[in-house]
């Protein structure tokens, strides 16, 4: 599966809601994501895509919409 699909799958599992219809919505403002979910996301990226993102590099404003997350992951892959 491509990166976009994998990331969307991770996000859907994590948040229990389908985010693919609102790719530019702020996930933190709407309360769908929080610090806990951020860490789970980082761990899933590690186990499913082999991408290591240290907590220091998790600048919330760069990871706050599905589109931004996908772009970020693509830049790290």
């Amino acid at each position: 599966m491509d990166i976009k699909g994998t990331v969307l799958n991770i996000l859907n599992d994590l948040t229990g809601s389908d985010v693919s219809g609102a790719m530019d919505d702020n996930l933190f403002d709407s309360g769908i994501m929080d610090s806990m979910a951020s860490v789970q996301l980082l761990l899933s990226l590690q186990s499913e895509l082999g991408i290591n993102v240290p907590v220091s590099e998790f600048e919330r404003s760069e990871w706050d919409t599905p589109n931004k997350i996908i772009a970020k992951v693509e830049s790290l892959a």
Binding site: M36, S38, Q40
Partner: protein, 401 residues
């Protein structure tokens, strides 16, 4: 010689205005003089830590040399090695002076430690995050001079806001263009004036005029259930208002001064009294502290717990970490029963808040959401927070014991 509390009186502001003027002109013409910035930094540090407070000044100098040694040494070490235990040892060494300062009054009958000085907490936060980001490889080019400027940046040295090394470095190494700088200048000046209103009018009224009267009345109205009385309730609100206007006022001075110096120090408050829940409150109250705790304690602990599969359920991980996180925040305020209870209160509040948010998510159709529930949520959150500040204030220690 004169000593000043930072932003404490009109003379301090007059000196600040004179000292910043050449800097402002320089920035308007696209120039940043490191030498001049260093000189006025030293001048204001001497004003704060010189004169009668010279022992604090000495403590500050020794402390800074110690933290520079640790961070510099670690940055050199990290280029070749990456041992976990060594990293933990270094973090422990970095927080050791602060720990001594915080524990000393509790074991020495309220006597302050000799190695303490105004702002030691905030410098420790900056040093520890630098070490952690060096470990993560986020800070690759550690520079001693930048670290010194970052630690000793005089507008924020005494009580924050707590900036981040990489963010500060980016601002410090560049000069904003004229349009951007004019915007910063305008904001900076406005922050200073809103700060005057907060700190010298509103905090003065609540803290200096109202609070002592209410405290006296509360102590005289003891008796009844847990010694709770109307004056005590009044004290709770007056104390909360004073705490907010005093600290938000100070923070506006610190951010405003930073902006005038072309440094975008992050804001500390974002309308905290309109938070609809405790979780949101911590995104709006003393933001740079709560985000520091979030990024360097909460998220790292959660990461570690989940990676080592310490708890079965993610919610358990989150809850345990909330309690640990807020307990550490309580201990940081000081080793007294009321600060620690305050931390525990917020830890438990966050756990309950999360349970409610999960419940609401599951039963989206049956939980009403309208302007009334929103106002009720804001009212409830505000009052819970004020109650936590009543614990924090320590007045119960006087009323009860």
């Amino acid at each position: 010689m004169l000593t000043f509390e930072p932003y404490g009186n009109p003379t301090y502001f007059a000196l600040l205005g004179v000292a910043l003027l050449p800097l402002m002109i320089g920035l308007l013409y696209g120039k940043r003089s490191r030498l001049y910035e260093t000189l006025i930094s030293i001048f204001f540090l001497v004003l704060t830590f010189g004169g009668a407070k010279w022992t604090q000044g000495v403590a500050l100098i020794i402390y800074i040399l110690y933290e520079v040694g640790l961070t510099w040494g670690y940055a050199v070490y990290r280029k070749k090695h990456n041992s976990g235990p060594f990293f933990y040892l270094l973090v422990l060494l970095a927080i050791a002076p602060l720990t001594i300062v915080k524990v000393t009054p509790a074991v020495e009958n309220g006597q302050a430690s000799l190695i303490g000085f105004l702002g030691i907490s905030y410098l420790t936060f900056r040093a520890v995050q630098t070490i952690m980001e060096i470990r993560d490889g986020a800070i690759k080019n550690y520079n001693v001079m930048t670290f010194l400027q970052f630690m000793l940046f005089f507008p924020t040295i005494s009580s924050g806001p707590i900036d981040r090394y990489r963010r500060f470095e980016a601002d410090y190494r560049s000069v904003p263009d004229r349009e951007k700088y004019l915007g910063m200048l305008q904001k900076g000046v406005r922050y200073l004036f809103v700060g005057f209103m907060y700190k010298f009018i509103l905090a003065y009224y609540f803290g200096t005029i109202l609070m002592p009267k209410l405290q006296l009345m509360a102590i005289h109205s003891r008796g009844g259930f847990l010694d709770i009385s109307w004056p005590l309730v009044g004290y709770m609100y007056a104390y909360s208002a004073d705490l907010f206007f005093d600290f938000a006022g100070y923070s506006l001075f610190a951010v405003g001064t930073s902006y005038i110096m072309g440094i975008g120090t992050p804001m500390n408050f974002k309308q905290p009294w309109r938070s609809p829940n405790i979780k949101d409150f911590w995104n709006r109250w003393h933001i740079t502290l709560s985000f520091w705790f979030r990024d360097f304690i909460y998220m790292r602990l959660v990461f570690w717990f989940m990676k080592h599969k310490v708890f079965k359920k993610p919610t358990t991980t989150a809850n345990v970490t909330y309690i640990i996180n807020m307990l550490i925040m309580g201990f940081w305020h000081g080793v007294t029963w009321f600060y620690i209870t305050y931390g525990l209160f917020h830890g438990v509040a966050l756990v309950i808040n999360d349970m409610w948010l999960r419940y609401k998510k599951k039963h989206r159709e049956s939980v009403p959401h309208n302007w009334f529930t929103q106002i009720f949520a804001i009212f409830l959150t505000g009052n819970l927070v004020c109650f936590s500040f009543l614990i924090f204030s320590g007045i119960l220690d006087k009323v009860w014991f």
